[in-house]
């Protein structure tokens, strides 16, 4: 470390190297935080988490108890002096039954470029738009079918919300005009997950219970662009193509939009090349356990010079597996909750991970290096051996 500082001083080494080293050290010792935590406020398993894209400060959580809570992460992290930081939800929690959802909240999305608006989907067959300042729903789309997840278009001008529905369709709603504008049909079973491409504004990826992963151009709603096939055989639009041999319940684009990651109940994670519509054939270890019925949220690091590209995959046996995105090696396993973890959120700013699990808890995962800076004496004592019987 000292050598790196000297090298930077002399100028023989680019400045980012030190940052890279620090971050690497942090990532090596990832663990469940003992200093930071959230109050257990949800009455049921936490199904979804969303962090705003602007400052990565406001965290939204949706639970199976149909409640949505808003947490301010920035405010509380300032008080790290306390032995245990607990983050309480804002008073403006969405409890009101008339306005809020009736059943499990399946998805939350922040508006891409502001924290004034967010959308939620639920098993009560609706998608709602919320004003986050007043925490009241602005508009409710009644979609007449279970909404397993939804995604907001990253292009503000589109203003489109794509919803994955239980009736095999993907429905687009325009939140500016408050109407459902078009329907994509092609899946022959429930659609579980949808994602907008960050690169092509008209491209949408979807995955469903039928095991297919499809890419759509929304300008052509009648048929999908590509139905991805894990064997890389046959024509791109063949009806026989399957992405996974079991229902697919998680989808995410890499930040550059060049790759798509999908996870299925066949306990595999697959990386797809979006340009070519082919399986990249990365083998992600055999430890994956994915039994979730609903949508699973994966998290990816926004890789740059300093941060490696990592995938955080929540499993049904209460672990988070960290894989390297491109070579598939298992970087680390994080252990903690007794029941399944449903969603993970990566906070890039200070390298923190948030997870929502079946035990109604939101957990914070941090680097041990950071934790040790605030460590107490008693903690150190607990890490000592005590072999003698006579104590």
């Amino acid at each position: 470390m000292m050598k790196s500082l000297l090298d930077r001083e002399i100028g023989t080494q680019p400045s980012y190297i030190i940052r890279k080293q620090v971050i690497e050290r942090k990532l090596e010792s990832f663990q469940l935080s003992t200093l930071k935590g959230f109050h257990t406020e949800h009455g049921g398993p936490i199904m979804t988490l969303a962090l705003d894209n602007v400052q990565q400060r406001y965290l939204l959580s949706g639970g199976a108890d149909a409640e949505i809570r808003l947490y301010d992460l920035g405010k509380n992290t300032a008080q790290l002096r306390e032995p245990r930081i607990t983050i309480r939800s804002k008073k403006r929690e969405l409890k009101c039954r008339n306005a809020g959802h009736e059943f499990t909240v399946t998805g939350i999305n922040w508006s891409p470029h502001s924290w004034k608006l967010f959308t939620t989907s639920s098993m009560d067959k609706t998608v709602k738009c919320w004003d986050s300042n007043y925490m009241v729903p602005v508009h409710t789309f009644d979609l007449k079918s279970h909404v397993y997840s939804h995604a907001m278009s990253p292009r503000v001008r589109n203003g489109l919300v794509a919803s994955a529905l239980g009736d095999h369709f993907i429905r687009m709603c325009d939140i500016r005009h408050k109407v459902a504008v078009l329907t994509l049909s092609g899946h022959y079973k429930s659609v579980i997950s949808v994602q907008w491409s960050p690169l092509f504004h008209n491209m949408l990826a979807s995955a469903g219970e039928d095991g297919t992963v499809r890419l759509w151009d929304i300008r052509n709603p009648l048929r999908c662009l590509v139905s991805l096939d894990y064997t890389n055989e046959g024509s791109p639009t063949s009806a026989r193509n399957v992405g996974h041999t079991a229902p697919v319940n998680g989808l995410t684009f890499t930040h550059d939009g060049l790759h798509l990651l999908s996870t299925g109940q066949d306990n595999t994670l697959r990386l797809w090349d979006v340009y070519q519509g082919t399986n990249v054939l990365v083998e992600y270890g055999g430890e994956l356990v994915n039994k979730a019925r609903l949508c699973v949220t994966l998290a990816l690091t926004k890789s740059d010079k300093c941060i490696p590209s990592l995938v955080f995959h929540p499993t049904s046996d209460g672990r988070i597996l960290i894989y390297d995105l491109f070579d598939g090696t298992l970087h680390d396993r994080l252990h903690g909750p007794m029941s399944s973890i449903n969603c993970v959120i990566w906070k890039q700013h200070n390298q923190e991970l948030y997870s929502g699990d079946g035990d109604k808890r939101i957990l914070v995962w941090r680097s041990k290096v950071e934790e040790q800076e605030n460590e107490d004496v008693c903690v150190e004592m607990n890490e000592q051996d005590a072999w003698s019987d006579y104590e």
């Binding site: 035990d359 005590a386 019987d389």
Partner: protein
């Protein structure tokens, strides 16, 4: 590494199943210590131990899992590395030991219940101790708390270390109890010692008065007087017992040839070549009898003898207690033992002496008279059993009890006479029903009055045809048999009623 590690590993691999096989909550101390020593050596060994423990936890028997959890707790509270390993697998361990996530614990059922309670308790304990370091423990504890209805058990668990602690406390308590007992005996001995010694000295004095010391006697004979033979006749005889100090002393003197010659000369024998015949009589070794002159001495001696017997009882009790006591301060115990043994020897010596003087004759008579309890047990009980008259029993207590016994016996005998008659089985000749059956036979049922199939039993001829005219009369006789003699005296009315009933039927 290759040379040393495999042995340590193999040892651990062998030790852990041996420790956890029996499903006991006490772990074998020696093996456990060995394992702890091995684990202490390196983290690698701890890893091996941990893997072994996990394997044992996976065994499909709640009994094995139960003791494995005890072992796990022992290592968990000791090694930080072991904690790190365990914490990671907490969900899996809870699945195996509490049955979370819908897992079912294996047989035997009683151990499954114990295992569950143990594990819930352990997680709680661990959380209290290490929860600040290991967030996973808090999560597990909270999880069990949240699902308290399913998993929580109120019963307090006892871990291995608790048990060790408890055992140590008990041991200390027992040790202190033993020590206090030793001190008590010591105090008692000190208290009684002076009494015993005093009593012994009194007895010794009495003996001296009654039996002159042989040496003095002999010497006085030599030095002073040439008195007649009667006086010089030895008043002591060699007693076969070596313990008798008089005898041993005499023998000592006899071995001394010089003095024996002197004795011989003093007695006018002139030579030692005479053969002296000393007759030994076992029933009267010391030729002292109770006379009016030494009656007071004898009386005193008797009192002392009684006291001495009591003291002997004390001393032998102390001895047995000291023998049983297992105290760390062994020197003290041994010193006390020695003292007690010396006392006992002295007392026994005094006892034999007084028995030789026949002091005990009177005393035993008195004690047997006063000791009414033993009489009661020995005499009355066999008398009572055998039913003999007890008039010849000397004990007054027996006499007082005797009349009540006899009265009870008499009562019993009297009441037996008539009642025996009641229980004697009188053979009643019950007639069969004999109503004709469909198969040509006659009904073989024997009822007193009424056959459940053919009604009132009436006399019938050999073909089962009723003999009409006799019916009421026979019926009357049957009833007569049933009704007891006492009833007969004032039972005219019911009899008629019964007869009437019969007529109606």
């Amino acid at each position: 590494m290759a040379a040393i590690e495999p042995t340590a590993k193999q040892k651990i691999v062998k030790l852990i199943p041996a420790l956890t096989r029996n499903g006991d909550e006490f772990l074998d101390e020696i093996k456990l210590k060995e394992l702890k020593l091995l684990c202490r050596e390196s983290d690698e060994n701890i890893k091996t131990a941990y893997d072994c423990i996990l394997t044992q936890l996976n065994v499909r028997s709640s009994r094995v899992r139960y003791s494995t959890m005890h072992l796990l707790d022992v290592l968990f509270t000791r090694s930080s590395y072991f904690r790190k390993l365990t914490v990671v697998d907490i969900p899996k361990i809870l699945e195996l030991t509490v049955g979370i996530n819908g897992k079912i614990l294996p047989q035997p059922a009683n151990f499954a219940i114990k295992l569950k309670a143990l594990c819930v308790g352990l997680v709680k304990q661990w959380h209290e101790k290490f929860g600040s370091t290991y967030m996973q423990l808090s999560l597990a504890s909270d999880y069990l708390k949240d699902n308290a209805r399913i998993y929580a058990t109120d019963s307090n668990i006892i871990t291995h270390s608790d048990r060790i602690h408890q055992m140590r406390i008990e041991e200390n308590r027992a040790k202190s109890a033993r020590y206090s007992r030793l001190l008590r005996i010591e105090a008692e001995m000190q208290e009684k010692n002076s009494d015993i010694v005093e009593n012994l000295s009194i007895m010794g004095n009495s003996f001296e008065i009654l039996v002159p010391k042989p040496m003095e006697d002999v010497l006085s004979n030599i030095d002073t007087s040439h008195s007649d033979h009667d006086d010089s006749r030895p008043t002591y005889k060699e007693v076969s017992s070596d313990a008798n100090p008089l005898a041993s002393l005499l023998r000592k003197r006899k071995t001394n040839t010089l003095s024996s010659r002197k004795i011989a000369e003093a007695h006018g024998l002139g030579s030692v070549r005479y053969e002296l015949t000393i007759t030994l009589s076992s029933h009267n070794p010391v030729d002292v009898t109770e006379t009016s002159d030494n009656a007071i001495v004898y009386e005193n001696l008797r009192a002392s003898y009684k006291l001495m017997l009591k003291h002997l009882g004390f001393v032998s009790r102390w001895l047995t207690e000291l023998m049983k006591l297992d105290v760390e301060d062994d020197k003290k115990r041994e010193a006390l033992m020695k003292e007690a043994i010396d006392l006992k020897r002295a007392l026994e010596m005094a006892k034999t002496k007084s028995e030789e003087l026949r002091v005990n004759d009177g005393v035993t008579k008195i004690t047997s008279d006063s000791d009414a309890d033993s009489d009661f047990e020995e005499v009355v009980i066999p008398e009572f059993v055998q039913g003999r008259t007890t008039s010849d029993v000397g004990s007054s207590l027996a006499r007082t009890t005797q009349p009540s016994v006899t009265t009870r016996r008499d009562n019993h005998a009297r009441s037996q006479e008539p009642s025996l008659h009641v229980f004697q089985s009188t053979k009643l000749d019950i007639q069969p029903c004999r109503a004709p059956l469909k198969n040509g036979h006659l009904c073989p049922r024997k009822d007193m009055i009424r056959c459940p199939f053919h009604g009132i039993i009436i006399p019938r001829d050999e073909h089962g045809v009723p003999i009409e005219h006799k019916a009421p009369c026979v019926e009357y006789e049957i009833i007569d048999d049933v009704v007891s003699d006492e009833e007969k005296m004032n039972d005219e009315e019911p009899k008629h009623k019964r007869l009437k009933l019969q007529m109606h039927q």
